[in-house]
Structures are given as structure tokens and as C-alpha cells.
């Protein structure tokens, strides 16, 4: 985990004059499971394609073990890819698909037979040797794609939304499977997804991207507990994001009140964004609350209730295990260490209360908004 395998230095990339990556700096270490996470159009797939050699950066350098590989074609890189929708060769059966890379490297047929058998066993595809990809289910095709890439013993495996086409339960199983394969092989995994839960549960390191820039790099717990800006806080998990002022160290003022908190290091009276996770707010009687408001919505989620509380016009989301009746007046209690203070950023004010859950909801209800194709597929998927 210590030596840097791949280094991206201030990568810029434009397509038809539109900038999709601006100044990407990223270190990827040996054996690491790195996830590039972000909404569609954030540049995560382009970053992956640059590492794979399918795109060349306009500016900046791609280093592999310290050597510049900007112009090295994909077939000379010790990197293999599991493509989105798999791209299995339709004219070859499962065996020949998996053996494809080894045959190119002139590995003797007996060795190929052994290695393909081992790989098919590891991916649970024994007995599928003679099937054509078209006759396989999504999950099976997925495994063939992984086997086809891994059999070449790459230094790095790139995975481009590999679980996107699978249903929820199978996705969970495949997440565990990928984790297991990662541990067993020790190959560096670079994984692209827009699913934050997937990213948090699988990765050593999460790279949150938006608008062609890296927003935050960190371990899943860091990203969740210490988001650097409103975008990350909103994208990873659920958050109430409020406008606030840091009166002094450990004193934050928001929602018309002053709260004790644990953060410091801000200028006196510096405007900030405050993040409070829904599970960190306690529901108490009005007179014991630091804030009070009216319940406007209650949703039963199985092991908890998700309630929306209107506090002076700002809609909070709160997760609580006790039932609260709609229209009830309740008090809210927040521990000092549940208050996370962030510097203002370009994303301040874009995310915040829970009048709606998603940006999409705002604009799919808007007749003037034109839906681009990219967004349409995201909505459908």
C-alpha cells in the first residue's frame, strides 16, 4: 500500500471544446482498491479511460511506476479492463473469450487450458466453457468479463461500472465477490461507480469527483464523517446542510441559534456550511429541544422512520427509531460532535434542505428543463 503505482499529474481533457477534466492529480498505490465516485458526467470514466490508454490527456502526465505512459497504447500497458456492459466477443465462446489474452501472448495451449480452468473455477463459471456470451445472463457475462481480464495477471484492473446492469441482490453478492478477488490476487483495482454505497463498502480509498475535478480523496469513513464541501456531504449519504457562521472556535451559529461544536480553525465570524447527518439528530419534547419544528412527512423504512421536519422554513431530514405523528411539534437535540463545519465552496447553497431529495426531482418537474441523453439514462437506470 506504500509505493505509488500510478500517478496522474494535472490532467486536462476536453471533448469538442468541452472541458471534462481539469487538473486531475491522483496517486494510486500498489494493491489499493480505489473507487472513482461521482454523478454522471463528472469525468470519472474519462479518468479511467486515460489510465487504460483509450484516451490521451490534452495536458498533464500519466506515470506508471514513475515512467511517463501518456502515449503508450492500451495493448502495451500491464492493465486490463472490465468494460461497462462487458464487451465480450460475440463470435467466441466463454473459453475462447477468457483465453484471448493468453493466446496473444503465445502461451502454450496446455498452460492456457489449465489457467482458463482455474480462472473459470474462481469466478464460478465451471461448465460454461462452450457457451456463447449471448446465451449468458448479465451476472454470468460479468464473471466472464472479470475472468477474461484477470487471467492476464495485470498489475491494475480497471472496472467501469461493472455492476450497473445487475439487480440489487446480485449486485451485493458481486460486491463481496470482487472484494474477495481483490484480496486473493493483490491486484490494484480502480473502480468507477456512481453508487456511493458501493464505493463506501468496497474501497480502501474513495475519490469523489464532480464537474471534472476531484472534490475529495480519502478513506470511506473520512469521506463520510469529514466531507470537505457541500457537494461531498450531499452526494455521500444523506445530509442536512445549513448556512452558518463560525463565531469563534467551537461555537457555530445556524438556524438562529448558537451551538457548541468540536471544530475550530476558522476566522472569526467566517461564513461556513454546517453538515448534520439525519441519524445524529435526536427527537425530544419541544421544551427540551435546541430547535423545534413541525413534522411534515413520515416514512417507515423498516428499522427506522425517516421524518421531515420544518424548522423555520428549512426542511430537516431526521432518522429516528420512535414513531412521530405527522403535524406534531417536536424538539431537536444535536450533540456537539454531530456538527460538522465546512468551508464555503462553489457548491454552497446548491444542496441543503429536504423539500425534495434529488436535484433531478426539481428539474423533472420543470417543463422548461431539457433532459440530455446522459441524464436520461441515469434516470432510467
Amino acid at each position: 500500500m506504500n509505493n505509488t503505482l500510478i500517478k496522474l499529474c494535472s490532467i486536462d481533457k476536453s471533448f469538442d471544446g468541452e472541458r471534462v477534466l481539469c487538473g486531475i492529480d491522483l496517486d494510486i498505490h500498489d494493491n489499493e482498491f480505489v473507487t472513482l465516485l461521482g454523478p454522471s458526467g463528472c469525468g470519472k470514466t474519462t479518468t479511467l479511460r486515460i489510465i487504460g490508454g483509450f484516451e490521451t490527456p490534452d495536458e498533464g502526465e500519466v506515470l506508471f511506476e514513475g515512467e511517463r505512459i501518456n502515449d503508450l497504447p492500451p495493448y502495451r500497458r500491464p492493465i486490463n479492463t472490465v468494460f461497462q456492459k462487458y464487451a465480450l466477443f460475440p463470435h467466441l465462446n466463454v473459453y475462447d473469450n477468457v483465453a484471448f489474452g493468453l493466446r496473444l501472448h503465445k502461451v502454450p495451449e496446455e498452460e492456457i487450458a489449465t489457467r482458463v480452468r482455474e480462472m473459470l473455477e474462481m469466478t464460478g463459471l465451471k461448465g460454461f466453457e462452450n457457451r456463447r456470451p449471448a446465451t449468458l445472463s448479465g451476472g454470468q457475462q460479468q464473471r466472464v468479463a472479470i475472468a477474461r481480464a484477470l487471467i492476464n495477471n495485470p498489475r491494475v484492473l480497471l472496472l467501469d461500472e461493472p455492476l450497473g446492469a445487475l439487480d440489487l441482490k446480485l449486485r451485493k453478492d458481486m460486491q463481496n465477490e470482487l472484494k474477495r478477488i481483490h484480496n486473493a490476487t493483490g491486484i490494484t483495482f480502480i473502480y468507477v461507480t456512481h453508487d456511493q454505497e458501493e464505493a463506501l463498502s468496497m474501497s480502501d480509498t474513495v475519490v469523489v469527483m464532480a464537474d471534472g475535478k476531484i472534490q475529495q480523496i480519502g478513506s470511506p469513513t473520512d469521506i463520510y464523517n469529514e466531507p470537505v464541501n457541500a457537494f461531498v456531504a450531499d452526494f455521500i449519504g444523506e445530509s442536512n446542510i445549513l448556512d452558518g457562521v463560525m463565531q469563534k472556535d467551537r461555537k457555530a451559529r445556524f438556524a438562529g441559534q448558537t451551538f457548541d461544536c468540536v471544530d475550530g480553525g476558522f476566522a472569526k465570524n467566517e461564513p461556513v456550511d454546517i453538515v448534520i447527518r439525519p441519524e445524529d439528530v435526536d427527537v425530544v419534547p419541544v421544551e427540551k429541544g435546541m430547535l423545534s419544528g413541525t413534522v411534515t412527512g413520515v416514512t417507515f423504512k423498516g428499522d427506522y422512520y425517516e421524518i421531515i421536519v420544518d424548522v423555520g422554513g428549512f426542511k430537516w431530514m431526521i432518522e429516528t427509531s420512535d414513531y412521530v405523528a405527522p403535524d406534531a411539534e417536536i424538539g431537536l437535540y444535536i450533540e456537539p460532535d454531530a456538527i460538522h463545519v465546512m468551508k464555503k465552496s462553489e457548491y454552497s447553497g446548491k444542496f441543503g434542505d429536504y423539500s425534495t431529495f434529488s436535484e433531478e426531482m426539481d428539474w423533472i418537474s420543470d417543463p422548461d428543463k431539457e433532459v440530455s441523453e446522459d441524464e436520461e439514462t441515469t434516470l432510467l437506470s
Binding site: 483509450f54 479492463t81 460475440p90 463470435h91 484471448f100 496473444l104 456463447r132 449471448a134
Partner: protein, 275 residues
Amino acid sequence: MKKRLSFLERAAAVPHLVWTLLFIIGPLLFVLYFAFTDNDGAFTFANIAHLSSYAHIFFVSICFSVVATAFCLLIGYPLALAMARAKPSTQKLLLVLLMLPMWISLLIRTYSLMTLLDNGGLVNSLLRAMGLAPWHMVGTGGAVVLGMIYDFLPYMVLPIYTSMTKLDKRYLEAAADLGCNPCQTLFRVTLPLTAPGIFSGITMVFVPSISTFYISQKLGGGNFDLIGDTIERQFQYTSTYHIGAAISLVMMLLIIASVAIFGRFADKEEEGMLA
């Protein structure tokens, strides 16, 4: 309401049905009739039996068509590949250039080719002007094959080009990812995945090549008797209709057989293409 619609639908099919009966089924029946009767209208296998004396003509025709088809494939495949990889605007231009000759009558094109290649034609004038010996071309087998290639090349390029534009780029990326250099990608991925285009191209060039008579008459200078020429000659006199019909019948069966064989290949590939 529904019944009326279905009557209308049936009525709409009538012109096509009449056309098919008059101009496809009818002539086919005539061919069958003439192939198995003699001058008195009596049933006979004599015409078919007589065909053995035309064996060499069948052989020469097949050889010419195979050579022409092979050259069309060798020229057409790289051309289709280059077209499919060009910018969209260039692709359109190349397509128009490819199809432009098809808008001119085949006879005129063949005749023009003959004048170009003639002993006193443009090509030989150029050769002479450059101080080279004139090259006798019209009347050689090469000229006939050249004529076939020239006339039928677009029929090879178009289906291959179509299957190339349908080829998903992800397969090419996957090949490169697994270690294929561009040449290996061409032979291991592009070629097998465009096989349906190749097979239909082969069929579309082979069939008109084997049945042509005009090209061999004009560019072969009468030195080559192909199936098409023979059939044409037999139908100039009523007395030889029967032999002509028998030759036509056998040629049709030959073509059907080869189309069926190629078709099988094409189908097999397409089965695999279904994602």
C-alpha cells in the same frame, strides 16, 4: 371495421402478387417446361443429359467469377475499412463516389471500359506516348475479370461497409486492452465480426459475375464463352430454347446452392452477434 381493413390489406397485395406470377413464377415454369421437353413438346431428359458437353463453359465461368470475386474482396475490404474509419463527412463523400457509377448503365460503363482498354484506346495511347510498348488487353481473360471487378465492386464494398459501421467500438477497445496490436485486432476481432458483410458481398458479386454475358462479349472480344453468353446464344433461335432453358436451370441451381451455403455462414455469424 377490422374485416374491411384486412380486405384492403389483401387488395393492396394484389399488384405484387400479379407481378410475381407474371414475371417470376411464370418465367420459371417456362424454363422448367423448356428444359424438360423436346421440339415436339414431349417430355425428355435429353437436354439435361446434353449439358455435359458444356462442362468446360461452366468451369471457365466459375473460374472467372471466383477470381473476380476474390479481387473484389481484396480491394473492397480495405476500402470499406478505410471508409468506416473516416470522418462522417468524408464517409458520405466516399459513399457517393462509390455509388456514382451505379447510376450509369452497366452497358455504357462496360463499353467505355472497352474503348479505354482498346488497342487504339486511351490507355494504350498513354503507354505509347511514354515510349512503352502497346499492351494488348481487350480480348484477354484479364480484361474480362477487370470488367467484372469494375462493374461489381460496389456490391462488395457496401455490405461490408454496413457491417463495419454496425461494429461496436467497444470490441476493438476490449481487443486492444487484452493485448492486440491494430493488426491483431483486425484479424481476430474486426474480420470475424464483419463476416456477415463479407458473405453477402461475396454473394452479391459472385452471382452477377457468373451470369454476365455482356462483359465477356465486349471485353473478351468473343474469345471467351461464358454461361451467360451460351444461354443468350441458345435463345436466339427457337430450336435451341430447350438447351438454353436446361443451362439456365442448372445455373440457377448452382447459384441457389452457393447462396444457401454462404447464407448459412452469414446466419451462423449473426447468431453470435445477437447481444
